[in-house]
Symmetry: C2
Subunit: 564 residues, 2 copies
């Protein structure tokens, strides 16, 4: 029996992972990778850290953990895999199981046979309809070559006024990489808040508040129309609302799946625009597999098809495809849209559905925002975090969790994602046996605490307004008392400036109940929500009928941002 | 209707948590806490951090997150809870629903009535059969008063030679608190390895190797017989194998549940020696609840009763009891024995069953040890971690995970604990959508990677020996080749000194296959296991019939400890 020919198109992440797994399972297979670009098996996600200087050596981005460059020689000697770089696959002859490829330098064509074909053709950056994108100083951040170019400009001291267009994960990683107090860094976002579609608007606004206080400038709901330049170099970004000086512009408006090859070969393309695969990662042609940024995925909660180009999917799917092209039956069932980001000292993470997303999909949901500490508050390394949880009404099924803060949020998101894989509900939370010690956690984990608070809300024990709802009540001119139960010092540092605000510390509340009007709605507020909840319970216990507290306290209040 | 009387005995953690929850649910209830000691609602787990100086202010250990001391006045004013400190409950009159208590200073007795009684009587430290424990300089670490005494001695410069007896969580937290290079710190452990019962012996040994290299002295399988002193102060610890100089001795040999009151009242005590409760936390008397360190729990995997005195259980059970004494029906189903520890720069965590534990319980298991990075290896903040996973053969059900390392392990343990709550198996791993970005994770999370490696082992794709097994083969004098595939530099830094070791880098292996004997068993070894796995697959692919690789590589090899 002659050895099986496994041909892989694409050598960034999904392809090499597939090759490595397939090789381990089938030592006799002929495994070949075709890659259009110059580098293979590189750490695209590491580019921002190279830009920021955290990673000094460019080579690290395509080296193994034991310091060997992952170049074609490495793949040949250590993996027994033939890699052709600078080689672009231009068509698939499905009938004869052949791929025609072209050398990108010489134009010479060659033919590769396959028994199993794997498409890891990835994605390409969206080019927005902006004039003069060909000016010098305009960058993308999608390939290693892009990172090299930006790094050269940064190192040459050419970059002082940076405008980043788009505030998704890539855009904000670019912000993290280039932001420093000596540069003017501005993000321009077509939608209304930071990380739209990733964070709910309330969470995105609170995150931006933090970045704004550090010096980042944000332009939201603003559309870039054109770039202007001098001597061929960009000098200014023109939007539908004004202009911004810029000597560097980074485009990060998202990516689209690279499906040209698949489409021309007649493979089924889904409504998301990406290649359709089944749970074995097979395309509509059972001998052709596809994975990574060029395929669509199934959302594990909604069952709907979604496009989610993430490195972790490419890698995990690589293992599945590696199994299946060598005779296995592994499955990849879908995704939850989990993502994490480090930006300007803040940890940002999310999984599942956001509130806006869930409502748009027709879910009957309840949500809560909770401000808390990531570990015991008396530990000097503790930091605040804000969590927002979304559950389905009735079933109490966890639908999503978002977290931002200087403190640890990624762990909580991972636990939530694990719960959601199993259809976990709020009723499971007290039985989650998560590790506790003062440097790691609070005795009741912040995610569990958030869920219990949401359970209180669902069961009518906790009656809350979100900060957004309080702001709307104030703006509508409603008559109510906003009872601030913090200490006078805390109040004086920062408070909501309004006549309807009344001060009374939690400690004096039981004794001074007569000072609180019984004929008005009372909304209690504190630093993080804990004392306000206590205060609300005290008032309710004392017979006050119309009492709520503001979720997340002043930690969740972004509406005085202009005061800073 | 008169208000319900809720009487709580014990004011450390479980009791106050119960009171707080009950108060929120029932504003009219008369809630009373009786506490024998001087402090209430304090952070016992914070004591080591006070000792180490990480927490400067003693008051922080019993203050709220907003800086208010949790003393009886606080409980009265903010919670409406009556607290009696220095008040010891001495008997329960179940027929008349009364508790007789005594003032510890005056001896005066008083009577407290209850509708619902809550026992949060906690635990007491085991006093081992060691002579002269009453010498000055002998400490425990169970109450705030203990922490104060040790801190005074540390600050007075009286503590240079410390001996810590017992290496459970408390013992190792004490090590973390007092260890510094200017002191001689020795741990004495009756059992054979560090953290026995918490980590498997192989993991405990590897952890000790790290601590030993930092300067900690360990005496294992050694029993303390007596202490010797001069002028009433301890000077020496005498064991069954020798003696150790000591000007301070910390006893940390564990705790036992404090069940005297319950037992004398005729409540059922379990085989573990702790109070029996149902999942509503009710004792054998339905009007008496018990929780925290004085009760036994159900292990969620085995269904067996276990004694696990952990702060997180006390807190979570406090919420359950708070619900139930006010008419609710909340449940606490059990525990997984999850625990985390920070000690001497290392993160230590475990959940579920260990290998030794699982085998002793009769489980048919398989396990693996994997050395890996906690985030992308090219990120400068990345650190190595060692994970050991245990699953049930056949069902592939996750039974346990242990982790040690400078890198992040707590997150992985929490995810594993979450999976175990739902009966998760190795087949679920590729569908766990955990957050990935270079500062947080590897594209395939280390825990998932470990599980996939274990799956390879179960399916015969990866054939391994544990480091322990390799050591045993060497000691038995077996004829085999230990093929070290690292670079010459790595080999020269540290290697297994034995004639059976052969050197050949992974990169040259495919070309130099003729140098590897075909008639002997080959065991490949590398830094962390990755290259050894590749090498084994190459050899197998080339027709070598008898090939295995050593799990976890030299990272998992502690047997040259004396060389350091």
């Amino acid at each position: 029996m002659s050895s099986k020919k496994i041909l892989i198109i694409g050598g960034v992440a999904a392809g090499p992972k597939t090759a490595a797994r397939a090789r381990r399972l089938d030592p006799d297979a002929q495994i070949t990778i075709l890659e259009k670009g110059k580098y293979i098996s590189y750490a695209g996600c590491g580019m921002p850290f190279y830009l920021s200087g955290k990673i000094h050596d460019f080579d690290h981005l395509y080296s193994t953990s034991y310091g060997v460059k992952r170049d074609p020689e490495f793949f040949k000697s250590e993996r027994g895999v033939d890699v052709f770089t600078g080689t672009e696959a231009i068509s698939i002859d499905r009938a004869n199981k052949k791929v025609i490829a072209r050398n990108v330098d010489t134009g010479a064509e060659s033919v590769f046979e396959y028994d199993k074909l794997v498409l890891g053709t990835g994605s390409y950056p969206i080019t927005p309809p902006i004039e003069n994108l060909d000016l010098k100083g305009v960058y993308r951040l999608n390939h290693l070559e892009d990172a090299e170019r930006i790094k050269q400009a940064l190192d040459a001291g050419e970059v002082n006024d940076v405008v980043i267009i788009g505030t998704g994960f890539i855009g904000m990683e670019a912000v993290d990489a280039v932001f420093n107090p000596m540069r003017a860094v501005t993000v321009v976002e077509f939608r209304d808040t930071l990380l739209p579609g990733i964070l709910d608007p309330d969470m995105g606004t609170l995150l931006y508040k933090n970045f704004y206080e550090q010096g980042l400038e944000g332009r939201f709901g603003e559309k870039v129309l054109k770039l202007e330049g001098e001597d061929g170099r960009v000098t200014r970004v023109i939007t539908d609302k004004g202009s911004i000086d810029a000597d560097a512009v980074i485009l990060a408006v998202g990516v689209r799946p690279n499906v040209k090859l698949a489409q021309e070969a007649g493979l089924t393309i889904g409504e998301t625009g990406a290649i359709v695969v089944n749970e074995y990662m097979q395309t509509s042609d059972p001998d052709i597999y596809a994975l990574g940024d060029c395929v669509e995925n199934t959302h594990l909660l909604t069952g709907k098809k979604v496009y989610g180009p993430m490195a972790t999917y490419a890698n995990r799917q690589g293992r599945v495809v590696g199994d299946n092209v060598t005779g296995g039956q592994s499955t990849f069932k879908g995704i939850l849209g989990t993502g994490v980001l480090h930006c300007m000292g803040m940890n940002v993470a999310r999984t599942g559905l956001g509130e806006v997303q869930a409502r748009a999909l027709g879910y009957d949901i309840e949500s809560i925002m909770v401000a808390t500490f990531d570990m015991t508050h008396y530990h000097p390394d503790s930091n605040k975090i804000l969590l927002k949880m979304i559950v389905e009404n009735g079933t109490k099924k966890l639908l999503g969790l978002q977290g931002i803060g200087k403190g640890e949020v990624a762990k909580r998101i991972d636990v939530a994602a694990t719960m959601m894989l199993y259809g976990g509900t709020l009723d499971d939370l007290l039985n989650l046996d998560l590790g506790y010690a003062p440097p790691y956690n609070t005795p009741i984990d912040p995610m569990v605490h958030t869920g219990l608070a949401l359970k209180n809300k669902l069961e009518g024990v906790a009656n809350t307004y979100t900060p957004q709802e309080v702001q709307e009540k104030l703006e509508r001119g409603e008559d109510f008392v906003l009872l601030d139960v913090r200490t006078p010092q805390q109040f004086n540092m920062r408070h909501i400036g309004d006549d309807r605000v009344q001060q009374l510390t939690l400690g004096e509340l039981r004794e001074k109940l007569d000072q609180v009007p019984r004929d008005k709605e009372i909304v209690t507020v504190c630093v993080m929500g804990t004392r306000a909840y206590e205060a609300a319970r005290i008032l309710q216990g004392a017979g006050f009928k119309n009492v709520k507290f503001m979720e997340a306290g002043m930690e969740g209040w972004p509406f005085d941002m202009d005061d800073f």
